[in-house]
Symmetry: D3
Subunit: 238 residues, 6 copies
């Protein structure tokens, strides 16, 4: 029995609430159970300096947590004066994941910034952020298409979504909440496209090394979860 | 006619959604029209070093804006590495305002941190933050009372709420939205208690100096608005 | 009897020493009793980037305290690596106050930076700074007029000065020194023009909320003080 | 044919030079071809505050690059004033990897800091750093054993080493140099123990998603490379 | 003929104004011509952590320049967020120079911080700072002696003063102003005690290397200047 | 007898290893006994903004120490977020020293950055850095000459090298190691050209002031040492 009372391959209830931020070109409040992430997509007129001669656009992401999104209040990042290694690592991952399904050439010298801010955390914030950011990006690209700036389906080549897996008490489980994550022997995050290609895989042994067989079980489980997330994304944007 | 189509003394629709953050001891999503602020109250075991010999507790506040809470995306504060003068000024104001209705001695060496994070901004974020933080604080103190840590009504002596007023095209108006705020000749924020005492008053001439008579009109208008906010707070916490 | 032995409406002795900094286009050492602030006005060829398309000049202020201007030595701001919230709040106030009496269009794309550095503090540093900065600005504008850059009286529309008031032991008093400030129930700062218009009003309840009647008494008292300061400014610049 | 002229599964020449830093308790200059990393292990009397009540020791890592370790000179990190996201990500990985083969309880309240400084970079700096840090750690633990502080083989449970793999022009290759890394479709880093357990796996699609079959080929290739690195570690410390 | 119209070995007019800062235990406004430095000596109850086990007191110095002390306004150090290399170099020099004439054991676990803030700069700010700091320190130690904390003459073993020399157009000159300093071939600062011992010597070739003979001429010139400064210090503190 | 067992005027064994960093235009690992400094010379296409209108090139230096180059591990500078006063002082000295033998006009608008990173420290890191940086600079200029960018011998007018001297137990000694440096009464660093001109002299009394005669002895000793270093530089670059 999982700590979360869920079956091994059972995900939390997932929802997407679009148009949650009136100023943003695209936005989505994504919930994976008690993990709530507000994703906005902002169209910027300018791209970063180091991209200027590449004749293409750019997609980047930033990630943050509200101070009391967590069980114990965290120090506000603007007060500590810098983003932690964990935050930088996550926002780099979100950016890479979304860029994997975007044709940057087709973006025409524009930049889109995906802000993923965790309002409430209960494990899996990075996977929820990637999955929700796709919806915000979709809406931002629709907004641009309505203004004849781009063709959305030329820019956005596929879905992308992410899910965590782990091994807890020797049982492989899907979509860990905080409590499960804290007691996992092995912890892995998977990012895949709608067509099933792997975009990113990050597996870490927390208490003991894991085997290739175990990794294989986790990938199969993740693939099913991501397939379900992509279906939900499709329902959300129709 | 106001830019917002409202009558001169008409406030925006105001709502309080309690228990919005599952980890916080008290929380409230306050909305003044399209201005949405997530307020959490976090109980901390420790008080700041400079308060330790005072034999009392402490209340402090922090304020932030999500990058795309505004019309143009703002730089993330954790990236710029410091809080702006405006942010520091607002969070000092929120802290002073709430401390004005709290008996710090009765808090018994504990600290409560009020985090006010703007999810969406349309003018009046500081007044919404103060008004919503009171609700989050109320709930945090109830939580403490349930655990026999304090007597809530000994700690919390009164309500406190805040509202903005301004003069736009020579007309005094209440509860300015962003557009009105940007075109105001005079801009003032008032913080008052449930009993009607003034806790804080900040008036600024934006384009031309104002007179004592004009100030007096604004105070009267603000008093009515704050009276209404306190009634709504009462309804919210019953 | 006041802690300072002064009558309720009696200000400290005020003096302005002009041309105190040989490099600056305008400068003034202003003293409100034991509060000494060195104000310089520096003409800059460039205005801030965000003002460039506005076809006008700009006035801004910076404020600082020498480490041993205070009773206990303060940490040097260059060492702590940032300006405190209090410092940022004060320098924003000084800038707004001086801009209230300046026609920025008439400044012709130039920027003037007003540096107010507290050499010795005994309460009321911000009010002394505003009052002295006006003199430094006047001299800077005269310097510019001598070089046919502007017409001083087109740029500088009026005087501006500031004074603090407060309620100590239920007695309203004018121009608080540090000791009085530390024991005030209510503390307010007023900025007014030579013609008597209110530019800025900031009132804070330190120990108990105050009433509109008390505020009114303080405004009347402040008006007299500021009238006197403006007379002294006039004498200083003849 | 690889850009490096090596066979697909051929690693660069690898060497370990021990005792390279006279002050450190353990040190190793590790070379993977033209990638040179100076690893030192420093015994610290104190462990981080958040570890103090855990009744165990701690191992952490820091990573840096000399400004001209790279083809174009990089800005010195001490000048830019912070560590980049990439640097933080790598040093977190090094720390996790080494902790995976250490019994922290057996370290007895001590901390060991592994500093990995890249003197010259040509791809694979993180894998060289992990592999070399193991040697520096081994020597540090021997130093401690000689002083009766610990039993080295109780603390250090196994070898750990790391290697990169990637797919370049559809060919899976092992131990990429900079040029190969820059043109890889898929890029993966593997950390494994001497017994063959997986400690960390990080795979990223650079230009197109990859399949589970491709990942499987890379794991097999990595396993052989890490087996070879562990043999070389054994030769180095006899 | 010197740029300053002075004779080669002629110093600027030097003055010391004591008790210039009412809060400080010792203070002195020192003027070397148009170079004005406000020096305060602050007694601190605590010494730096790294000095705690040395069973002695500590003297340290901090140095700063007001933004408009210079011909062109400098960026405020609190805004730039750090002290420049030049500032750090100077304050280290001031601290070393004063410690050279102090018996730290006799200070009894106390720390004195010497703040040297340049109100107006015209070359030689560091030499003026050292020379004036000695007076502020003297007064601080007298203050402590009056309170039976120390014996001043046991702590302060000698005078210390400093002067600059340089070679301009092949002529050795004493006490350079800014204009002379900017055109010097060789620039040197000397710190000596009342008894004539050298505490610090810093000579730099600006345009061409200098010879031992030239250095010797400068030392002789400096010795006379410092002898004169020590006489003035004696007159100042009687 | 010296702590290092060397004769008073005996230097440590000195070596230069060129071409140590494959990416750099010039590089040199210099060793003064156990002090090892990796010096690289990097050609930059751009010069600093403040040099742009001077119609010349620029040479600058940066200095750093690896965390475990020292007996006790130092905090990594990139982590502390700034360079210490000592580091800034040393890198300014290195830059001045090298510029003293360079014709910046002949550099043709290019900048060369000399990075001096201490791999292992045992006293005299700044003198080793200057001496080794000359070799790296020489090789960088040769690299430029091969590409017809400059004439090396027009740019590089002379050798420059540096050595430390000190007085330990009243005995003047040359080239102090860490232990000797820590116990010196007087500590001095000298930078001279191949022709024997003095570029920089820095003498500090550590425990007691020193006399002109003592300084003279140190200069003579330093001159011999630097003469030897220049001979070794010549042998290194043939």
């Amino acid at each position: 029995m999982r700590l979360s009372k869920r079956a091994a391959h059972e995900m939390r209830s997932v929802s997407f609430e679009r148009n949650i931020a009136k100023h943003a070109e695209g936005s989505c409040l994504v919930k994976f159970g008690d993990t709530h992430v507000l994703c906005t997509a902002s169209l910027e007129a300018r791209i970063p300096a180091w991209q200027r001669n590449n004749n293409q656009g750019w997609i980047t992401a930033e990630y943050g947590m509200l101070p009391r999104s967590t069980g114990e209040r965290m120090r506000r990042e603007a007060v500590s004066g810098k983003q932690s290694g964990r935050v930088l690592e996550i926002q780099r991952l979100i950016g890479r994941s979304l860029r994997a399904v975007v044709d940057l050439k087709a973006l025409g010298g524009k930049q889109i910034i995906l802000d993923c801010d965790v309002l409430q955390a209960d494990g899996g914030t990075r996977t929820a952020a990637i999955t929700g950011a796709w919806v915000a990006l979709y809406d931002c690209l629709s907004w641009m298409q309505q203004r004849q700036m781009i063709l959305r389906d030329k820019v956005l080549k596929d879905h992308v979504a992410a899910i965590s897996c782990g091994i807890v008490k020797n049982m492989p489980i899907l979509d860990l909440n905080y409590e499960e994550d804290a007691s996992a022997q092995t912890d892995a995050n998977f990012v895949m496209t709608g067509k099933g290609g792997i975009v990113e895989i990050q597996g870490t042994a927390e208490t003991a090394p894991f085997s290739e067989e175990e990794l294989s079980v986790l990938i199969t489980m993740a693939r099913k979860g991501i397939h379900r997330l992509v279906e939900l994304q499709k329902l959300a944007v129709v």
